[in-house]
Symmetry: C2
Subunit: 408 residues, 2 copies
């Protein structure tokens, strides 16, 4: 049975790593010193559980509980998520899924038995995509969507090369990328949205996951004097950036279901009395329906054209990530629902708003996700919160799902 | 007579200091190492001219050519401007006025005569206001608008204390602030706007200067996940910032004559998939008519109220600078026009769009300004340009104006 106390203690301990005393939460950005400490902690717990530890050449970490015949790969059941975070994150996003995976293997260890199939707990590199894009990078590459070289050569928002940072923190492993192909994949995660909390339901059986479109938009205007340049003669890169942000908001109002976020911005030279010569923004568009997502992308592209004309600026855009919506494996989703039923826990089918590693692994194996409520739907914020009770129930549903899958 | 070759050479040499090889131009931001080198160069030239050098307690530099009785203060005629720059600036903004002032004193030295009244060449501290606000800080304080302590305790956009930086670069002088009160003040400057260039006129006799309103606006929203937070539940500080920028653009369209610029912006945490928890922008509003400037300020304040309601964010604004429009001394403007006439140079009366030290010194002495054309009106940009011929004509009009004032 599930050792709930250890699970909660692990969540608490991992959550301390990378704590930000100024703005709250923890900033365990992929492949930073803080994230290395998080990795070391997870590897230490895997070692305690006597799992076989494998690290691949892009730093994905796998802890394997072999089956009764000693197999570590054949017909494996994988559980996983990530331990990197955004800035000033909560303690649960990603970590919960990895640590609950460890709790499942601990349930076997505590009973002194081995499973009928190998169980692999994965912690994928750089799920958040804050420093290196795209997000879900480690799982995407594991699923064959990126080569190891593409991953290692990725240049970060801070100008670093991913491969250099990976080597620096000592997590450039030996195992070739994509070695451990699972037969099924399960990911337990906090919802990060408001639905379960609002409806008072403890478990989400995630049936699908919305599409994600990430772009970086580079605008070049002309620097000039704020006091002497008539409004009609301006080529204001900053204004163009702002106009994209307000345009996207308006688009979402006309196209319900589309989410649009501009989370990051830079002006150059960024001085009070200089019209910005350049501006860079990121755009995050999402929709569970790929057609609507394409419509949003198209509307944005048209607005950029309008701005090129009206403001006399040049604009280039770069695709940082583009993932189609994913529909999870119907049978696996059913098993999750049955597991919740068997424990008499209320559940509902739902869509994931966030991107997850499961979205990538779904390319190579039947996959499903289990959600637990997020208080007020807050995530990517130090105030991200899920009740201990709900965390424990989620892990129990994960364990019951694993047990059900192993017994068939 | 004016030594045009030396003037052009000085402009060239000073323009090399703080050169930015990457983005062009020079960044000689107030009280940085680069600006210290610029100060050293100006002081060296003042020494060559055997001027009496005085540095006040906020770093304003004065080079004095005494009158025939050896007076350095009584009934002094001051010329001046500044040698600090914005990022990636042209070589002329400010420097031209200081170096032309030196060229006027050189004309006396070359002739071996002393003027009938002391002539003071001033280089005021931190005119640009990029690092420390308000702009025109040194001249404002010289005119009694700020105490030395207020200046020294100013905290910069980079978190530094002005007094510490001033001491660090060795320009914390002995002379009490405000010691050298001039009887008249003249400032020669590039127009930084397009009017003279467009109209093919070589000299602007600046009759007035528009009002300047600088604010910093701090917005606090709520960080949350870009993929899971419904648009209707967002408190997006970044969207609010963008909405201010587009609102100001619309306001200027309804209120011709008002200029509005948002030159600098920061989001927190500035990550692609996190709704910004905070955003900070600067707002630069200008108008030659104080009532219209107040209308713009009022409209902005009302828009902030709207945003507080509609976006559920908190917004605070801080006044960084607020200067009423200034009307220059009619008699002095007449003398400038007569000087241009005496040299048969085309001239026109005009308004200054940029703020200038003359605007501050006008509080304590009759003041006027002389403008020369700026190619295409470009300034605060490495491509700021004025023909040598125009630079020389401007300095000649300055010299003729000085000679006229000394002879009365
Ligand atoms: N679950 C999660 O926060 N993933 C990060 C990628 C994204 O959805 O922005
Ligand atoms: N002349 C000039 O560029 N002054 C800086 C202050 C302003 O922004 O007007």
């Amino acid at each position: 049975s599930l050792d709930a106390a250890t699970l909660l203690q692990h969540i608490e301990a991992l959550g301390q790593i990378g704590a930000d005393a100024v703005h709250g939460g923890r900033s365990r950005i992929a492949l930073t010193d803080a994230e290395k400490l998080g990795r070391d902690q997870v590897v230490a717990w895997m070692t305690e559980l006597d799992l076989t530890i494998q690290i691949d050449e892009i730093g994905n970490i796998f802890g394997i509980l072999p089956d009764q015949e000693g197999n570590t790969q054949h017909n494996a059941l994988m559980m996983g998520s990530h331990i990197d975070s955004v800035y000033n994150a909560g303690a649960l996003d990603g970590c919960y899924g990895v640590l609950a995976g460890l709790a499942v293997t601990k349930a076997f260890r505590d009973q002194g038995i081995l499973p009928t199939r190998p169980i692999i707990v994965a912690a994928f590199t750089n799920e958040e995509g804050v420093r290196y894009q795209p997000d879900m990078m480690g799982s995407l590459a594991h699923a064959g969507g990126l080569s190891a070289l593409q991953v290692l050569n990725t240049i970060g928002t801070d100008g670093t090369r991913l491969g250099d940072e990976l080597a620096r923190i000592g997590y450039h492993g030996d195992m070739p990328l994509g070695t451990l192909k699972p037969s099924q994949y399960l990911e337990l995660h906090i919802e990060q949205g408001p639905i379960l909390d609002k409806e008072g339901i403890q478990i989400g059986a995630v049936a699908n996951l919305q599409g994600i479109s990430w772009q970086k938009i580079y605008i070049k205007g002309k620097a000039n004097h704020a006091g002497t340049t008539p409004m009609s003669m301006r080529h204001d890169a900053g204004y163009a950036a702002a106009s994209i942000i307000t345009f996207l908001r308006e688009h979402t109002q006309q196209s319900p279901g589309t989410l649009a976020t501009v989370g990051s911005i830079q002006f150059e030279p960024n001085a009070i009395n200089v019209i910005p010569r350049a501006a860079t923004i990121t755009v995050d568009l999402r929709n569970p329906d790929n057609k609507s997502l394409c419509t949003a992308e198209q509307a944005l592209a048209e607005h950029l054209d309008t701005l090129r004309q009206s403001e006399g600026v040049t604009i280039e855009s770069e695709v940082l990530a583009r993932f189609d919506p994913v529909i999870f494996d119907e049978q696996l989703v059913n098993v999750v629902e049955q597991a919740a039923n068997s424990l008499s826990i209320a559940h509902k089918r739902m869509t994931s708003g966030a991107g997850h590693d499961a979205q990538m692994i779904a390319r190579i194996a039947p996959s499903a996700m289990i959600f637990v409520p997020s208080k007020d739907g807050i995530s990517h914020n130090p105030r991200e919160f899920t009740k201990d009770e709900d965390l424990i129930q989620g892990a129990k549903v994960l364990l019951a799902t694993v047990e059900s899958l192993l017994s068939h």
